[in-house]
Symmetry: C2
Subunit: 339 residues, 2 copies
Amino acid sequence: MTPNLPDSQRQIIYAKRPQGVPTVDCFRLIDVPVARPGPGKVLVRNDVLSVDPYIRMRMEEKDSYAPVMAIGDVLVGRTVGQVLESHADGFAEGDWVVGRLGWQDYSVAGPGELQKIDVSLAPQTAYLGALGSTGITAWVGLMAFGKPKAGETVLVSAASGAVGSVVGQIAKLKGCRAVGIAGGASKCALVKDAYGFDDCVDYKSPDFADALARAVPDGVDVYFDNVGGPILDAVLPLLNNFARIPLCGLVSQYNETEPYRVKNLREIFNRRVTMRGFVLSDHRDLWPEATRELIAAYAGGHLKYRETIAEGLENAPQAFIDMLAGANVGKQLVRLRRA
Amino acid sequence: MTPNLPDSQRQIIYAKRPQGVPTVDCFRLIDVPVARPGPGKVLVRNDVLSVDPYIRMRMEEKDSYAPVMAIGDVLVGRTVGQVLESHADGFAEGDWVVGRLGWQDYSVAGPGELQKIDVSLAPQTAYLGALGSTGITAWVGLMAFGKPKAGETVLVSAASGAVGSVVGQIAKLKGCRAVGIAGGASKCALVKDAYGFDDCVDYKSPDFADALARAVPDGVDVYFDNVGGPILDAVLPLLNNFARIPLCGLVSQYNETEPYRVKNLREIFNRRVTMRGFVLSDHRDLWPEATRELIAAYAGGHLKYRETIAEGLENAPQAFIDMLAGANVGKQLVRLRRA
């Protein structure tokens, strides 16, 4: 038996489908008994929760790439935490793990749902971000579908975000020119100064289209797209022949009830472009290589990241809503337990 | 010296840029002296001319995938003809050849611009269509970018057209379900009865979207797109996970001054689709394999084609305009010389 384990724990469940932008009443904080791990299972104390744009899609009524959540489900989300009690081979009390364990204080999980992490190499929270699924998403999209060659120009939307910032840093390590697109002067400064991109263009600027063209004087060979919508339309005419577009997300579209209609799709044909939607969970075979390269980059000082940390599970809904609106800097996390 | 060669020949030159749909005054028929082949060159008598949608893009003011034509240029187009006089190694008087020799009665060309054809295997005109660049376009797009697997569903727009009809027949040879989209009941009947598609849907029908969904009960694995525009929007929600879209052309868009705005692009992400624009001239390495397979299919009775033949170079502009409007059945050709 685990010492000091409370009888009950907090969970946030899905209470109401949003119309457009989610509101806090789409979520409900409840108390439930702490589950006990049976044979082959592990009890994990979740210390930090990651809230990510893909969760918005799981709130839709219609399946996107993943099944939607039902009303009453515990909100999906990845956490980092510590094993309190193990009845599974390969896991011991005290091990640090990450997994998709949901918006709750404690979780029971099987070994297949957990990855052990080495907290001597980097802080725990890095494994939710630059060294975790966020960084791996960046690596897989860029390397497997962007296929950058040294000397090429890699353009990234949402460049100050958790995925985008890693994309640009890998692109630099591969010898490319990295150019970001971000919203506002301070995010653009972060992209250039903290993450080392060669340039960054503010999409909120009135001369965005011209500024973007100036920032990619040799055209765009890889456009790593996190947002879709009008920014995609602005990029399409700047693509070089045989450009690649790894389509990682459509953040600009998740809260829209009417989708943006893309005007310049003919450039896909004219420039013989490859556009490829991808989702990390389809590419587990690439995780080990991606993780090795990301940890090596971090150890070498070539992989910087930022975090915005909200305090308390009860504040996770607002943190999620703010993140969708772009209020966070870097990875948006929620601390569930004070150290 | 070639016997019976006239002093002058007819050419059609590019006279005026169209706004939207081209009109006959965009073209001008002129008489010019017949050029004489110098050392290393060949004189070809052009018997049949092929008029194709891509020519419309070359009439634009702005380069698409190929350089635009200048006012005064001879119209671009492929012909089949016979060598009248050769000063080039590997070519002899009487050889049958195809090449991009333009809208004119006679052409002087180098060996690199000509392919010899075997007229004992198929009629001359087949080498402008199903056994020529049209058929090779279908093969390259489907096999290199569509990557069909037996049992999958291959959907083709402009299915009664010269490219689309070949796509469906190759798909059938590869063990796929082939479904076409075409305009009108008679074209749909042709697609099913002459080309052997499993089904064909009329995009002019008022219940097009429902009929299309019924025709692909297992979803769409490959969408070979020749048209873009609203038909692409109708297909996107029917794609299966990991579907491929070889984008061969945008016929619906060539005459539009304002491009159609695509609404359902998020399905590229949701379904992890690969959309790939391609142009035949980038893939000359695949021509030999494509040609071998097409000739074998034709010899085996598995590759049917239709032709619409206009008579006389002077009627080529109207034939081209009618072809863009979909008035042709199969490959649109123009006979320059009566046999």
